[in-house]
């Protein structure tokens, strides 16, 4: 073995030895400790035993003299000793034999007893052991035992002693009480009413209902105050009542109040509080019974409201109501009833009145009083519902009456009369009927054809006129498709667009319709959409006017106009041609005549020369006549070239250019106005009048005077002369062509007819006032506003009476 190993082993051995010695010394000291402890225990035990013995002796005496039963038994329940009351109570005499207490124990308590015994053995004492025992005579008793162990000198338990108390009665009372309490608790806990019991102002009991009502648990309720659960406004009253009760002035009170829940919400409740005082006890109880009346109050309010509503409804009903009970006493009526039958009293005052004679009393109001009374008697006898009887009143009103018997469970309980004034409705209906008939009559008899078609173009309605217009009978039209039966020769007129327009808004158009007889007629059709009450389009309504005759007239007129125009034109041309063609030979004649006069004046005698002069005069007249005709023919037809015309200037020009005899003077006392007119026509107008005037004056001093007046819508001119005058019979005639007063050789009889024509064109009038030998006043008017500038110039206007060849 190596040296090192030996060294290691030596050291290990050394450590083991030391460890053993250490262990031995530890064990030695432990043994010593154990010995000391056991010695100490022995002494203590001896001391305790001495004490116990002394005590036992003292206590034995005491126990045997006490009133309560006292028993000492061994650990097997055998009675060792018992005092007198124990013997009496248990009816035993253990001196006569061995008595075992376990025999007394009721089987129900055997287990409990065994456990209690074990506890006694473990702990050394037993308190309040309670069990039922069965005595030898069979009686059952409840006992309560307090027991302790008795030890022998060695300290081991050898016996047990106990004091027995008969608690049968106590137990019975307790059971009874607990049964009652349980019953009460069941009632209290299941009561829908909130119940709180206060003792000395402290809550000692609260049931589930009140906890649920208020939202507080029982523990919380104990802590809260009246303020916490009472609405602030009602706190004073609550406190006052509580105070009165506290002071004993009040033993019971009921209050309707608003409680506040834990969550702040509220409910209405009826709280009944009763104070319970026991004369023998200072404890003062208060019982609170709280009923949540929120729902019932709400229901009551609703009922009241609905009753009120109903009453108001009946009161203000637009129907007279009379409710009679089974004894024919008035139970209910309303304002309308009083109004209807002229009763002055308010409806409330009528309640209770006997209605037996009501019919007889009121029959005078009705047109057929006897029938009214017998009718009511019949109804009342039959007691069957009668509705909508119509009654005519003396004053013209018509009433509708219902009779409703009231049966409850098959028993007659009265009846209800109700009256409605249907006068208006009746007359309204009648009026409506009259109106309808009126319009039906109009529709049937009017000259317009009426047709209604639905959305599928089926004919719904036609009137008599339509049948006549179309030639179809009503039966041939109704229900047929309008497009199929009524063919139009100019279908192109009704294109898609116009059809759409008609269907949307209505429109008028002219169509050619083929009648049943195959005749083409012109109709003016006004069509519009038809609507029902809900404003839905349900078709079209068409009103048709047969305009065939109009159409024909119009066509004729158009033809006539065309013809007229053509003849006018040819007339114009004819006049022109005639005057031109006539003038040409005339000039030749005139030239020939002057040649004769000049070249043959020597050879011609006086008479011959006079004849030549006469020829020349006639030629001049002829020429004037031709010029006049030309002017006349253009006066009417030529276009007007309206410009601003200074009439004063025009007149001056005329005076300068026409022949005016020496003794005649033309005076314009006013400056004539500027008018908008055709200058040439104006000149023609004035020239004709003036020249006419100046030549017909035979007085030595002739005078022609021009005046005018401006009226609102026209100018009025007057040319006055002091000439020969015009006989009354010519006043109208002179304006006709080729007419002149007195057949003067100087007059062509055309001038004034030109005047008339021009005045006509300016929508004026012309007339004369004249006295033979004194003079003539020529009046004419020109309308102001019809004169328009835009008309074209009259190229044929003349200023000369002479027309060159």
């Amino acid at each position: 073995m190596e040296h090192k190993e030996i060294q290691i082993l030596k050291r290990a051995l050394e450590r083991e030895r030391k460890a053993r010695k250490q262990a031995e010394s530890i064990l030695e000291s432990k043994s010593k400790e154990l010995y000391d402890t056991s010695e100490h225990l022995k002494r203590a035990n001896a001391k305790l035993e001495g004490l116990l013995e002394e005590r036992s002796d003292d206590m034995d005496a005491a126990f045997f003299n006490i009133i309560d039963p006292y028993v000492v038994m061994d650990l097997e329940f055998n009675v060792l000793r018992a005092n007198r009351s124990a013997k009496e109570f248990l009816a035993l005499d253990h001196s006569k034999g061995n008595v075992n207490l376990s025999n007394f124990v009721h089987p129900d308590f055997a287990q409990y007893t065994a456990e209690s015994m074990q506890a006694l053995l473990d702990v050394g004492s037993l308190k309040n052991y309670r069990a039922k025992i069965v005595l030898s005579d069979g009686a059952e008793k409840y006992v309560q035992i307090n027991a302790s162990l008795i030890y022998d000198r060695k300290g081991s338990p050898m016996a047990a002693q106990g004091v027995i108390r008969d608690i049968t009665q106590e137990k019975e009372i307790e059971e009874l009480l607990s049964k009652h309490r349980k019953q009460l608790d069941i009632i209290v806990e299941n009561s829908p009413l909130g119940i709180v019991l206060k003792a000395q102002g402290q809550i000692v009991k609260s049931n589930v209902a009140i906890q649920e009502m208020l939202g507080y648990s029982h523990e919380e309720l104990k802590k809260i105050s009246t303020e916490d659960i009472t609405l602030e406004e009602e706190l004073a009253e609550t406190k006052r009542l509580m105070g009165e009760m506290e002071t004993g002035r009040l033993d019971h009170y009921t209050i309707n109040k608003t409680y506040v829940r834990k969550d702040g919400s509220q409910f209405m409740a009826k709280a009944a509080v009763t104070s319970v005082r026991d004369t023998n006890s200072p404890i003062h109880y208060e019982v609170f019974i709280v009923e949540d009346v929120t729902k019932s109050m709400k229901a009551e309010a609703q009922l009241k409201e609905s009753e009120n509503r109903l009453a108001t409804l009946v009161k203000n009903l637009e129907m007279a109501v009379l409710l009679e009970d089974e004894d024919r006493k008035m139970a209910l009526t309303n304002k309308k009833f009083c109004e209807m039958f002229g009763i002055q009293a308010p409806p409330e005052a009528l309640i209770g009145i006997d209605c037996a004679n009501a019919a007889e009393d009121t029959k005078t109001y009705f047109k057929e009083p006897e029938q009214f009374v017998t009718g009511i008697e019949k109804i009342l006898k039959e007691r069957k519902m009668v509705l909508s009887d119509e009654l005519e009143m003396v004053d013209g009103r018509i009433l509708e009456r219902d009779y409703i018997p009231i049966m409850i469970d098959g028993t007659y309980k009265g009846h209800l009369w109700s009256y409605r004034d249907i006068t208006l409705r009746k007359t309204y209906k009648r009026n409506l009927q009259i109106e309808k008939e009126k319009y039906s009559g109009i529709i049937a008899n009017m000259n317009l054809g009426l047709i209604e078609i639905d959305n599928e173009d089926r004919i719904q309605l036609v009137n008599e006129s339509f049948c006549q217009m179309s030639g179809f009978g009503r039966k041939e039209l109704i229900g047929k498709n309008s497009k199929n039966i009524l063919s139009m020769t100019n279908k192109a007129v009704i294109d898609e667009d116009s059809l759409k327009k008609i269907k949307q808004h209505g429109d008028s158009l002219e169509v050619e319709v083929l009648t049943k007889q195959g005749e083409t007629r012109y109709w003016l059709v006004s069509a519009a959409p038809r609507f029902d009450q809900a404003q839905r389009k349900i078709g079209l309504i068409g009103i048709n006017l047969d305009i065939t005759e109009h159409k024909k007239l119009q066509l004729e007129k158009e033809n006539l106009m065309a013809k007229l125009e053509a003849s006018n034109q040819s007339l114009k041309e004819y006049a022109y041609v005639v005057s031109h063609d006539l003038k040409s030979p005339l000039r030749s004649i005139e030239a020939l005549a002057s040649w004769l006069k000049n070249d043959y004046s020597g050879t011609l005698d006086r008479a011959g020369k006079e004849y030549l002069d006469m020829i020349q005069d006639k030629i001049e007249s002829m020429e004037n006549l031709i010029s006049g005709i030309l002017a006349y023919s253009t006066a009417n037809t030529s276009e007007l070239n309206n410009t601003e015309v200074d009439l004063h200037e025009v007149v001056l020009e005329i005076v300068e250019s026409i022949y005016i005899p020496e003794h005649v003077k033309v005076i314009t006392s006013q400056k004539l106005p500027i008018v908008v007119a055709d200058r040439t026509k104006m000149r023609q107008l004035f020239q004709n009048i003036i020249s006419n005037a100046v030549v017909h004056i035979e007085k030595p001093k002739g005078k022609v005077e021009l005046r005018f007046e401006e009226k609102t819508d026209f100018w009025e001119f007057c040319i006055k002369d002091n000439g020969i005058g015009i006989p009354k019979k010519y006043h109208e005639k002179i304006f006709e062509i080729f007419q002149s007063a007195g057949g003067s050789k100087k007059s062509t009889g055309i001038g004034l007819s030109i005047v008339k024509k021009i005045v006509d064109r300016y929508h004026g009038e012309v007339w004369i006032e004249s006295e033979e030998g004194i003079g003539t006043e020529f009046y004419f008017t020109l309308e102001k506003n019809t004169i328009k500038k835009s008309e074209n110039e009259d190229t044929t206007g003349q200023k000369n009476r002479k027309i060159g060849i």
Binding site: E5, I8, A12, R15, K18, A19, R20, Q22, A23
Partner: protein
């Protein structure tokens, strides 16, 4: 710390590393007790720490692993010396569940002044156990070794996960799930 732990520890060192290592670590540790330990005696815990450190240095194994291995060894030797304690269990979970209520009570009977760690049970099923180890010594790896060996002893095995509830390891949660049960 009770002498029995020291004695068992040295016994483990001798069986695994030889008597020379035992001698060496005692000699180098310069202990107040001079390495003399008897099971019934009580010694300073610091000596155990010193011994562990020297052993760790000498054999090159971390202290924690040495403690874990010691746990294995200690369980076996405890079973050998007090077989009746273990025999009253038929499953490792049951044994672990009763450490405080039963096993430690027995320990206290023999070594009234032993300072024992506490094991607070958090959850227990038939096959799993969750508990918190608490000891000022922080020897949870030793406990770990004991637990694992316990399962081995009953011929089974378990997943043992360790969760340190503080840095020192004086409070550690063990979640144990038995295999194949």
């Amino acid at each position: 710390m009770k002498g029995i732990v020291f004695a068992e520890f040295l016994s483990m060192v001798e069986s695994q590393y030889g008597l020379e290592t035992v001698d060496n670590i005692i000699e180098t540790s310069k202990l107040p007790s001079e390495g003399v330990y008897t099971s019934v005696g009580t010694y300073d815990f610091g000596e155990m720490v010193t011994l562990l450190q020297h052993l760790s240095q000498r054999v090159g194994v971390p202290v924690d692993d040495l403690l874990y291995a010691f746990g294995h060894y200690l369980f076996q030797s405890l079973v050998k010396t007090h077989p009746e304690v273990v025999q009253s269990y038929n499953a490792p979970i049951g044994l672990l569940y009763s450490i405080e209520d039963h096993i430690h009570v027995h320990v206290k009977k023999l070594y009234p002044d032993a300072e024992l760690p506490s094991f607070k049970i958090l959850e227990k099923t038939d096959t799993s156990l969750s508990m918190v180890y608490a000891s000022s010594r922080g020897l949870y790896r030793l406990a770990h070794g004991l637990i694992v060996k316990c399962f081995e002893h009953f011929g089974t095995s378990a997943d043992v996960s360790i969760e340190l509830l503080n840095k020192k390891g004086t409070e550690v949660k063990f979640d144990i799930v038995q295999h194949g049960a």
